[in-house]
Amino acid sequence: MTQATVQATDLMLGISDLNVYYGESHILRNVDLNVPFGQMVCLIGRNGVGKTTLLKTIMGLLSPRTGNIVLGDQPDGMASPRSITKLTPDRRAKLGIGYVPQGREIIPRVSVKDNLLLGLEAKPEGRKGNESIPEEIFELFPVLKTMLSRMGGDLSGGQQQQLAIARALMGKPRLLVLDEPTEGIQPSIILEIEAAVKRIIAATGISVLLVEQHLHFVRQADKYYAMQKGGIVASGSTKELSREVIQRFLAV
């Protein structure tokens, strides 16, 4: 699928002409990116090309100098997409963006259970205080069930990564934003996380925007965008992801 065939109403997330600066240094240059409903889009590129900056801008942690970010308003995609460029991160989360940042960012001195419950804050009505953790979460990540009373900061990297994804899912997001979920994690856990993400997509029809270096995981996506020096330099279906493109844009 090329960009031209994507109808505006099919968009979960649309980014147009985005320019982001850190002080005076120009980081993102005229970035255009679309995530269609129910699809998994993967963003690839070597270190330092601006992938994480792009995701942070989507979450509202950085504000763009120019450009627009729109979010599909209704799950069925019929309503006109609304601009979220000016909203604070917490408002964006409440509109249905679940964020799994690089480095996991687990709340360290809060129990695993409370970390999961904090994910409920992203629901439009917030957390009531009497909810419990749904079984699906433990089906996806069985390891969490045995650690509910442990402090979040005491878990290992792989466990924290699973907790971060589970926490994002608690708020029932419509778009899941994953920043290098396999970074620094042992191969068997990578497969587990990969399988979990695939099951989530199959079960909920969620849209996913993924930043990834791990080739096997990249191949699971429907569509890829490749970044270089702060701009998008290639895009297309991952089926067409040739050896040459991988050589150029993935640090292998």
């Binding site: 942690l61 917490d90 989360a93 964020y99 709340i107 904090l118 804050e121």
Partner: protein
């Protein structure tokens, strides 16, 4: 045995005053990391609120007057919390992550608050009201325009001097009117009369236990339980803990961090108000009351280990008991009975007054912090940062 119990009780009693005063700071400094030098003035405002409530209840006559303290506690909480919210929204939120500027700003606020209670009169309140009406009302009107962002600075530049000028003109125009311009409290100290059931004491354990002291110990316990429950069990408590530990991620989870900051600050300030209510029972209240407590409260929080309630409890009790044992000369007396060498006795008798005891306690704290710089309970585990 009786001497020991008496020392323990008096120590706990001093400690509980320290603790109730430090509890709010343990939240503001310990959890948010904000150095709030105006904390003492928030205590002072709580004490003055108690004074005002007492005067209102005096009008009702005798059976009601006995219960004014029950009303004064929530009133003091609300008054201090409201001032705390104004302080946070108006000044501190622009200074998060800049401790030096926060320190200076809150020190300035503490001076403003001290002078405010000295000179507050109906005229001053009305003038401030006029200024707020003109400035914030005008800003609201401008905000409803579509090109709000563009005219924002112009609007402030126009409305701020205009509102201030009208309010100041009004103030000087009516300042001849003595009924309006008489200060409410003036700079003299005021006295809060304890209700009848808090006066006097009991000799049950062989020494004098004033009821007011027992009341403060009870109040401290109640506040501790309340704070513990709120932080550990309530949904807002979880949000507060989450925001204080990882602000950016918390906002990405959908937690409105600005609201949580304001609430946390309001809670800490409100607790300072309750502390003010408690200290008003111990002696007269003046504009400088807060200054007497601010150093002690910071000591408690620092010795306890920042961000740790249990540490604050132990530190307050430790400092309280130590200052009583040294200051009252109990330690010196015990040593005399033990036939300690004369030089040691002279040393402890030298420190046997409440102000000299403070010198010794502070010296001990300095030594303690050399050994454990992060306090009694430093953060542990994988996530501990130094």
């Amino acid at each position: 045995m009786s001497t020991l119990l008496e020392g323990l009780f008096n120590g706990i009693s001093i400690g509980s005053v320290l603790l109730i005063a430090a509890l709010g700071l343990a939240i503001i400094f310990g959890l948010m990391g904000v150095i709030n030098l105006a904390h003492g003035e928030l205590i002072m405002l709580g004490a003055y609120s108690t004074f005002v409530v007492q005067n209102i209840f005096k009008l009702f006559g005798d059976p009601w007057f006995d219960f004014y303290i029950i009303v004064a506690i929530p009133v003091a909480f609300v008054v201090s919390a409201a001032v705390g919210i104004i302080l946070e929204r108006g000044a501190i939120r622009f200074l998060y992550g800049r401790p030096l500027e926060t320190l200076l700003a809150t020190w300035g606020v503490s001076l403003i608050l001290q002078q405010f209670v000295r000179s507050v009169s109906w005229l001053l309140v009305i003038s401030l009201g006029i200024f707020c009406l003109l400035f914030f009302g005008g800003m609201q009107l401008v905000k409803s325009r579509t090109d709000w962002q563009r005219v924002k600075t112009k609007a402030i530049a126009l409305l701020l001097p205009l509102g201030a000028a009208i309010a100041i003109a009004f103030y000087f125009l009516l300042s001849k009117n003595s009924a309006l311009s008489t200060p409410w409290f003036s700079s003299r100290n005021v006295d809060v009369t304890a209700p009848a059931w808090l006066r006097g004491g009991t000799d049950a354990l062989g020494f004098q236990i004033p009821y007011a002291r027992l009341f403060i110990i009870g109040l401290t316990l109640l506040c501790l339980l309340g704070v513990y429950w709120f932080l550990q069990r309530s949904t807002w408590g979880l949000k507060i803990r989450s925001v204080t530990q990882n602000r950016t991620m918390s906002s990405c989870l959908g937690i409105p961090t600005a609201k949580v900051d304001a609430l946390t600050f309001a809670l800490g300030s409100g607790l300072a108000g309750i502390a003010g209510c408690a200290v008003s029972l111990l002696g007269s209240v003046g504009p400088n009351t807060g200054q007497n407590y601010i150093i002690d409260t910071f000591m408690v929080v620092v010795v306890g280990g920042v961000g740790n309630l249990l540490g604050a409890i132990l530190a307050a009790m430790g400092i309280g008991i130590l200052s009583y044992l040294i200051g009252s000369g109990t330690l010196a007396l015990v040593l005399t009975n033990l036939k300690a060498p004369q030089s040691l006795l002279d040393f402890f008798f030298f420190f046997a007054s409440s102000s000299m005891a403070k010198v010794m306690v502070f010296a001990l704290i300095i030594i303690f912090l050399q050994i454990k710089p992060a306090g009694l309970f430093p953060q542990k585990g994988r996530t501990a940062e130094l």
